[in-house]
Symmetry: C2
Subunit: 385 residues, 2 copies
């Protein structure tokens, strides 16, 4: 099975579609839970499937360092190594190099850095990022892009965007060479892998449009919008998305990287985005920050110590079916691992249910009323402050 995408329903600029990959189909708009090191922290693959995850995102930087892409390739690729049978998207590793690695320097060749684990020296080039992901055998691979800190001056944003485009050309050339078996020493473990280009350009609409057009000119199976959700105001992010998606082909999936809150997802879908990933539901869960239809809950709060209600009466997840807020607060307060598991199950259910409701709304032609209701709902308000 190879990669394909088709829009099945359009409703304004919102699209519902189906993405086919070598490891099965994904209904879009889709949210991809983050399994940094080959596992979503705190829950098993079984539970991840049960809450409705269709696709897993995994981080190339982490897997490259441990256990190494060579080892994973010898195991037959990431799917076989971790025992996940559904689609996987891998990032390029660039974002972690920029945010996590030590003593990094960037030049035209790529990113030079030292491992945050042992200080060992590494270089990540567009070609290397493509090779690693070929060895991991994800269904969707990302090109290496330059991640600019926000805020950036227009000149810096333009230079960075231009470099990202040059890197994208190199990454695409490498991807096609790998597909044709022309790169000795790299064991591609997924012949049906697709590659996504990434639109950059900071918060400057003209740069975004230029980046989108030129990335499309290179030609990829899908297109991502990168460099947002990095501290800029929400409205700026929404505006950049709105300016970018019209420059992308209708028949290719659009992926907004690293966003965001549930509200961000709804707003981005309204502007034509199909795919999302974010650590927010899983990281917040481990910190006791929970999303509910009635508002956000900080389960640490003493007001929940004797609260026998479920986290969210509107939620059907295992946590809400079987645990009271009082029990969840206790588990969090005493530091039980189970708090992470139960909270993660709930937050991911909230996200994945929201995406399911978005898909249904688009299919029934009522996305705008869903969006309005969602915006007016209490879910974005803190329930306990």
């Amino acid at each position: 099975m190879s990669f394909a995408f088709r829009v099945t329903h359009a409703n304004g600029r919102a699209r519902r579609g189906q993405l086919s990959t070598p490891h099965g189909d994904i209904e879009t708009p889709a949210f991809m839970p983050v399994g940094t090191q080959g596992a979503v922290k705190g829950i098993t693959h079984r539970d991840l499937e049960a809450v409705g995850a269709q696709v897993l995102l995994s981080n190339t930087y982490h897997l490259y360092l441990r256990p190494g892409d060579d080892l994973i390739a010898r195991r037959g690729g990431l799917h076989r190594f971790i025992g996940w049978t559904k689609p996987i998207l891998t990032d390029s590793g660039g974002y972690q190099v920029f945010s996590l690695a030590a003593r990094r320097t960037i030049d035209e060749e790529g990113a030079h850095f030292r491992s945050h684990l042992d200080g060992s020296a590494h270089t990540l080039t567009p070609e290397k990022a493509t090779d690693i992901q070929a060895q991991l055998g994800s269904d969707m691979a990302m090109v290496l892009d330059e991640c600019l800190a926000h805020p950036a001056e227009p000149a810096a944003a333009r230079a960075s965007m231009a470099r990202t485009l040059r890197w994208a050309c190199r990454a695409r050339d490498r991807f096609l060479a790998l597909r044709d078996g022309l790169v000795p020493g790299v064991a591609s473990t997924n012949p049906g892998q697709a590659q996504f280009g990434i639109v950059q350009g900071g918060v400057f609409p003209e740069l975004r449009e230029e980046s989108a057009r030129q990335t499309v000119d290179i030609g990829f199976e899908g297109y991502a919008i990168g460099g947002l959700s990095v501290g800029e105001p929400n409205e700026v992010m929404y505006d950049m998305v709105a300016r970018t998606t019209p420059c992308l082909p209708e028949d290719r999936p659009r992926y907004l990287m690293g966003a965001g809150t549930p509200e961000d997802l709804v707003e981005a879908v309204a502007r034509g985005v199909d795919m999302f990933d974010c650590v927010l539901p899983t990281r917040n869960a481990r910190n006791g920050q929970l999303f509910t239809s009635e508002g956000r809950i900080n389960i640490k709060n003493v007001r929940y110590a004797e609260d026998d209600r479920p986290l969210d009466p509107a939620c059907q997840c295992y946590t809400c079916r079987t645990c009271s807020r009082a029990y969840l607060r206790h588990l969090f307060a005493v530091g039980e691992i189970n708090a992470s598991t139960l909270n993660t199950l709930h937050n991911l259910t909230f996200y994945l249910d929201t995406l399911r409701r978005i898909r249904d709304a688009i299919a029934f032609g009522r996305f705008e009323s869903f969006r309005l209701a969602f915006r007016q709902s209490l879910s974005r308000q803190p329930l306990d402050s």
Copy 2:
């Protein structure tokens, strides 16, 4: 439903039986996973039931300190608070006071100690331990006993045994008073709760026999053997068990506290024990120490880095069905919570399957051949050293 026990099959001194509690039946011999703070670390109740747990052990000391037995009683008891619908046994809190608490002093009244959490001062008496467990509403409560460090001189062991007997009388009186509603201020949340006496006496057979006879004279729904599995040689533990069980009534359950390895369980069953609890399968799991039918595995070992086999080819647990040793080693090496979950699922399955095989062997009258085969099996040997 009230408490009852009947032996359904006898095979030598080994017994198979059925224990009925207000929260359902338990097939014995049974192993009770330890859920210290109201949860077995790393796995959900759902997974705990799926691996075959019939009964959960929870620790009174921990629950008394956090979130407090008053709070749990206001929630309707421990079952409702934690959402576990099957039987629960609670210990008296004594063992943790002796092993964990700070600045403890013991006198005839009870144990005076400071919390290991915040240094607050507390006193645990036989009456208080009974009251707390009444509020928790476990199906089986334990009397407070004095836990003597091993090795102990005969005189010290005798004095301690005698005190444990006096405490057992007081605990039983309190238990009966609570049952009759004669203790104001204590909210018993489980009217069908049973109480177990505890046999002490160190490593001295005469003391063990005397303790057993006098504890039986007080009269409890079940009897535990305490003060073993605390550092004495295995053979001494087996011998103490063998000397104690003949002094206990045939028609009451016998519980060997805190034991042990899978081999210990088989040997204790051969000597007439019906119930067990131990942190070994769960704690070892979190430390990467795994039980398999082919030998013990330390999953940290680099030899497993590229080992695509399941932990135990004879095991049907989720971990063995879906994960390779290589993936489990990776998860452990990078410190993922999921390593604890997957390892705990496996180790508990190994224990609970062993108990199931023991019960089957007794029912079919072939326990001795099972025991011999188990003793000769490789499971006790390290596979990787």
